[in-house]
């Protein structure tokens, strides 16, 4: 346990600058676009007032016509989401690089890891936990940014032009956020659990490639296809809950899918452990 934690810390520590960089870019771009949009909008409204034009023209989602943090979020979809997409891309890439970086370059650190007097599975677990920590960390940072951005909003927009927003509405206003931060905690665990199982399957595919090299690429692809096939076999054979003549009842369909996912996770982890312990080659 101790060695696992030390390995986990090492993985987090060696990625800290990139993670901090992603956070910084996210903060900079989001705050930047908010400031730019609001300063312009406030100036425009001030001018409208001078020209005696009505400024409280509402829309379907924002009937009062006043500026709110939610309405601001609604108007800056693209720029707000851009750093999020960038982070997803970088983290997605790192799912592979967290392994491959130990093999590439002049100083192949993988030797050092494999020579440690610790169960080899701790290496696997540390890397898996680290990826999870990075994903949740970026999520947590985005959550923290929102109230900060709200304060900035309050600072720029004068009180008479603005109204308060519900936090739930702020999240709903952007198209990307409701997926990343579901309303329901059960749904959160479910979605991220599912995503994480995919990460574990990819880890095992990577280890297959690293153990068998050229043939390993084939094994890796076949393994991923097998996992994907297991998961989609029910929906594809039209046994989903929205097919009225399906043989399975909806709850049965769900349970079977969950069991399949559990099996995919279990087999990925077991296979990954075994490969790392017995078949891996530097």
């Amino acid at each position: 346990m101790n060695r696992y934690l030390k390995l986990l810390h090492m993985e987090i520590h060696r990625f800290r600058y990139i993670l901090a960089g992603l956070m910084a870019i996210t903060a900079a771009v989001q705050i930047g676009v908010i400031i730019r949009t609001l300063v312009r909008e406030v100036a425009k409204r001030k001018e409208d007032i001078l020209n005696h034009q009505s400024i409280d023209v509402g829309s379907a989602l924002f009937p009062s016509g006043k500026l709110s943090f939610a309405s601001t979020m609604f108007g800056i979809q693209f720029w707000f989401a851009l750093p999020i997409l960038l982070s997803i891309a970088v983290l997605g890439l790192y799912i592979f690089l967290i392994w491959y970086r130990d093999w590439f370059g002049r100083h192949t650190f993988v030797y050092r890891l494999l020579l440690l007097p610790t169960a080899r599975r701790n290496i696997y677990l540390a890397k898996a936990t680290a990826i999870l920590a990075f994903i949740l960390g970026m999520l947590a940072f985005q959550l923290l940014l929102l109230p900060v951005e709200n304060v900035i909003f309050n600072l720029i927009v004068p009180a008479e032009m603005r109204e308060a927003s519900y936090f739930a509405d702020v999240i709903a206003a952007n198209q990307a956020l409701p997926f990343l931060l579901p309303q329901n905690f059960d749904q959160f665990v479910f979605s991220y659990g599912l995503g994480f199982s995919a990460v574990l399957a990819v880890f095992t595919a990577i280890l297959l490639e690293r153990s068998y090299r050229r043939l390993g690429i084939l094994y890796a692809i076949l393994y991923l296809i097998a996992c994907a096939a297991a998961v989609i076999i029910l929906p594809v054979s039209n046994q989903t809950y929205f097919n009225p003549s399906a043989y399975l009842y909806p709850e049965e369909f769900f349970m079977i899918e969950m069991v399949i996912f559990a099996l995919v996770v279990a087999s990925s982890v077991w296979l990954g452990f075994r490969l790392l312990a017995k078949k891996i080659t530097v």
């Binding site: 993670l19 989602l61 749904q187 479910f190 399906a246 909806p250």
Partner: protein, 416 residues
């Protein structure tokens, strides 16, 4: 410990941030509503569900209200929305729920309530399909599954019947059993004329062989400028044994203007009861239906009794007739919205002997201003007002008015 700062900060960040978010969310409660009794026994309101939306947020939230409280679909997990509530239209039927509970394997893949027949001894399911419309020899295939509850024996039959003319879109409308005869009523679109045909297939219950094949004397065929649309009303409890089935036919005038846009105007409504025993269509007297093309009408068939529910925004009435004797089964009951303690009637449905009515305190129920949705339950046979209830905010009184202002409930979900 100091050198582990990066990991510790990250973990703390995650726990604090995400933890607070979900804890805060669980306290960012959308208001709770509830249906409470004003008069009468609260039990009369069990199973009544009002639905609509709550508009105080940026996007209006779909909400359902019952005597137990309210539920917002956006706050449910995907499992609750998709799996637990799957096929809710099917599980609304009490007989279907019973069948699934008692005969789970028999019921797999069967989700059409009209295709079932259930009595104390037999459970029968019939499905119909037909060959494509342009084949030389059109055929209909009837697949029947029979379960004898007393003996536990299950049988399956597939019977192929040659047709003289091709059909498509065949559906089972009702299934009945008389002694050893299985009578399956189907509707299908004729391939040659643009009209609907109703056919009754009579099969031998013990072996599935076709005994006879009748076409119902339904004589409405679309012609130039006139279109007929039909609606078959079978028993309220679709699997129940019975002797009748109702046919509602609407005659519409159709105009196609130069831009190929199509508009229709109702001309008249005709109602018939098909009697299984005699095989004849009985025309239902106009006086029974009091048909008005401007009000809502619902027909409910329960055994031999036909109940007619008519309502507009100001009043509602219900009457019942015995199809065997063609006499009134019970006296007509009428209420005005005012008598029920409201300004307008939103919608209503019948369930057994009872009429469930959704009422509003204004005459524009889609506007939320000054509305307090109310429910009234009437016993149609006795004409008595069994229950009156209203939707209130389940929470502090100080916020109640603010929340009610944004609540718009305009649908009743029937639960049979």
């Amino acid at each position: 410990m100091k050198r582990y700062y990066s990991s510790v900060i990250l973990v703390l960040l995650i726990i604090v941030s995400i933890g607070t978010y979900y804890f805060y969310r669980s306290t960012d409660r959308l208001p709770e509503f509830k249906l409470v009794a004003v008069k009468g026994d609260q039990k009369e309101a069990d199973g009544i569900e009002l639905s609509g939306n709550y508009g105080a947020r940026m996007r209006s939230e779909i909400v359902n209200v019952t005597t137990e409280g309210s539920e917002y679909s956006s706050r449910q997990s995907m499992y609750e929305q998709e799996i637990k509530n799957a096929r809710s239209w099917f599980y609304q039927h009490s007989d279907m729920r019973k069948l699934v509970k008692e005969h789970r394997d028999f019921m797999r893949g069967k989700t059409d309530p009209d295709s079932f027949y259930m009595d104390k001894e037999w459970i029968i399911y019939a499905a119909v399909s037909q060959s494509p419309a342009n084949i030389e020899k059109p055929e209909t295939e009837i697949r029947v599954q029979v379960l004898n509850v007393k003996t536990g024996r299950e049988d399956q039959f597939a019977t192929i019947i040659s047709e003289q003319t091709p059909y498509h879109n065949a559906q089972v409308v009702d299934v009945q059993r008389y002694d050893n005869e299985l009578q399956i009523l189907t509707s299908a679109m004729s391939g040659t004329e643009f009209s609907t045909k109703f056919r009754k297939y009579v099969l031998d219950l013990s072996n599935g062989h076709l005994i006879r094949n009748e076409e119902l004397p339904y004589k409405f065929i679309d012609r130039e400028g006139v279109r007929y649309s039909h609606n078959v009303i079978s028993h309220e409890v679709s699997s129940a044994p019975g002797n009748y089935v109702l046919l509602a036919v609407r005659e519409e005038k159709v105009t196609v203007d130069r831009n190929q846009s199509y508009s229709s105007q109702p001309i008249a409504d005709h109602f018939f009861a098909y009697s299984y025993k005699t095989g004849k269509l009985i025309e239902i007297p106009e006086s029974w239906t009091a048909a008005s093309l401007n009000s809502h009408q619902q027909y409910n068939l329960n055994g031999n009794r036909l109940s007619v529910l008519t309502y507009g925004s100001a009043n509602i009435s219900v009457s019942g007739y015995d199809l065997d004797t063609l006499q009134e089964a019970y006296k007509r009951t009428s209420y005005t919205a005012a008598q029920l303690g409201a300004v307008s009637i939103g919608s209503a449905y019948m369930s057994g002997n009872r009429v469930i009515i959704l009422l509003h305190q204004n005459d524009k129920p889609m506007m939320a201003v000054n509305d307090k949705p109310m429910i009234a339950v009437i016993d149609a046979t006795k004409g008595a007002l069994l229950y009156q209830g209203e939707v209130v905010v389940d929470g502090p009184a100080s916020e109640a008015e603010e929340h009610m202002k944004h609540l718009r409930l305009y649908n009743l979900t029937p639960r049979i």
